[in-house]
Symmetry: C2
Subunit: 360 residues, 2 copies
């Protein structure tokens, strides 16, 4: 890649699309990520490569079907935003991608999910025991990758990662427990509690990715903390948008069945906000509660359609939209409070838009 007019690069590249940004970060991180995964036991390395979409069961190389790499991109962009080269963030980017993949592997076991990104999940393809082991291996590798960085920042970086891991587990525990809690009454899950769960389960690792990128780039602590906060709110916004799509998303766009989350009786933000409605939304909330309590385990299309309408009438849809907007605004405030390198700052905003401005 040659650049004839480097001074134009900044302006030119702020117009990069989210796909280009994610692709560039993936390419930067991939060699180290692949080397790191290659240090694993060969059997475990195959399961890891399978979950990254690098190979099929049996080890035959494959292309695509891996994740987008939002976490690694966040680490790289935050290092660049702090004025360093993206290279500075690579160890952190590798660590967060490994942790993310570990958590998908284990969550799929816990949730009994049989497919991910159109392929069988690791436990489905290799067995539960091996999938537990592969997750453990990725977890250990993430810590090792980060503990091995040069300089005095290693311990602080590991502390950040392990705090995020703690949050991740806490969020997953709450999420699992939410399933068996009632829709209404004193034991019901409130929207506040749901927000905390999401901040732990999704926000913490995005915050950690951003903070690690900045910290490894040598950014001062207030900058690191602000980017951590930005990442966390990005995570919550992303999840709430995902919740909206899980009910009102166009199957042609999301690639997922209509009313998917209602069909699975998931306790998501729009439902919980609707159920807690007071004032004009209260009658719809009450009818929704009755419907959810009385509907069968796998509700039919008419029931989920009615539930979606009641959620909207009780204000769940608009509450979720407002919630997402509030978190997006907080991300913007965090970013504006810092003096960041312009190109990276613009690309962070592109990434944010990509995460939250999907077709709701």
């Amino acid at each position: 890649m040659t650049t004839t007019f480097p001074e134009l690069l900044g302006a030119q590249e702020t117009t990069a699309t989210a796909g280009e940004i994610l692709g560039r970060c993936r390419e930067l991180v991939r060699p180290t990520l692949a080397d790191t995964v290659g240090r694993l036991h060969p059997w475990v390395a195959e399961m890891a490569a399978y979950s990254f979409g690098w190979c099929d069961v049996g080890g035959t190389p494959a292309e695509g079907s891996g994740g987008k790499g939002v976490r690694q991109a966040l680490a790289v962009l935050c290092a660049e935003a702090a004025g360093a080269s993206g290279e500075a963030a690579v160890a952190g980017a590798v660590a967060v991608e490994l942790v993310h993949t570990f958590s998908l592997l284990h969550d799929d076991i816990m949730d009994g999910d049989q497919t991910r990104r159109t392929r069988p999940t690791v436990w489905k393809a290799y067995g539960t025991g091996p999938a537990v082991l592969a997750g453990d291996a990725l977890f250990a590798l993430a810590v090792e990758a980060l503990a091995g960085v040069d300089g005095t920042g290693a311990a602080a970086a590991v502390r950040r990662l392990s705090a995020a891991l703690g949050d991740l587990v806490r969020g997953q525990a709450d999420d699992l427990l939410f399933e068996s809690r009632p829709w209404t009454g004193p034991e019901a899950v409130g929207p506040e509690e749901y927000r905390t769960m999401v901040e732990h389960k999704t926000g913490a690792l995005l915050g950690c990715a951003a903070a690690l990128g900045a910290a490894l780039a040598g950014a001062p602590e207030p900058t690191v903390a602000a980017l951590d906060r930005a990442g966390r709110h990005m995570g919550v916004a992303f999840q709430v948008v995902d919740d909206l799509l899980g009910i009102w998303g166009d199957p042609a766009v999301t690639g997922k069945p209509v009313h998917r989350d209602l069909r699975q009786r998931k306790k998501t933000f729009p439902v919980l906000a609707a159920l807690s409605a007071r004032g004009p939304g209260a009658p719809a909330a009450e009818r929704l509660a009755t419907l959810l309590r009385d509907s069968p385990d796998i509700p039919d299309d008419a029931t989920t359609r009615r539930a979606a309408a009641l959620i909207e009438r009780a204000g769940g849809r608009s509450a979720a939209l407002e919630e997402a907007e509030r978190h997006i605004a907080t991300v913007e405030t965090c970013l504006e409070s810092l003096s960041l390198a312009p190109r990276a700052s613009a690309e962070l905003r592109t990434l944010l838009r990509f995460l939250v401005r999907r077709d709701i």
Copy 2:
């Protein structure tokens, strides 16, 4: 606890029994361990407390049935051996106990084991998903506990722990794969390969415990490395003795059924050594191979009795005894090469004897 004649304490306490030593170390570590576990999500904390034997399912406090705490004792004794107070090792002791418990939790899932220390395993009592989660939580907590230690040693300590974790996973992967490999032929598991697996699966964490204790006490690197080696060999010796007991142990002493490992068709050191016998042991080795190949999945008493006799005749029993003795001798050599505090050094030897001089 008052001591009237502290100058007599050294001589007096070298006669402490293994039970007393383990108890003292458990008491020293317990408050911090309990505090650390208490930081977990309450549901996860209950599963953790259950696996430590501190409570029953539901959270009712219980006494006993937890582990002996060999790893924490090793950390504490190595700090003392390096001339520091056992207090110095507590963060390391907590980390290795958490990692050990995490590995038991996940191994029990992988191996399908339904009971441990006379109680249902965590996955059996709480479900597979929750047990995966609890293991993850303990893992994250171990890293957090260690990354949080004061001073410059935190990063090195975490590097040590993550290297041991990597070995642990590697050993578990090999152990799982051994099950489906044949008894004989080019794909058979050799005694060498088995030794490497055990060094990873059992030795690495004992070595890490010893090394962490010494490192946190400020011992110089050669001392840390030698104690790491001592711990590793202790682990291998322990496992080989366990293998001997799994075949020839007296059920009245071990509390486990006679010929337990043969009944479960486990590929342990005495069997693998017997199968690889050359010279005078070869005919018995060949008959053993035929017996193992042709015996049913759950062999009857007569078959396991015959297998045990053939293993002994092929030299598997004596090879295992020699193997254990060699590792014990290496531990002694490591300890002798260092100038350690006399009382702790004597207690380390008591611990070693406790681990390997069981009634074979």
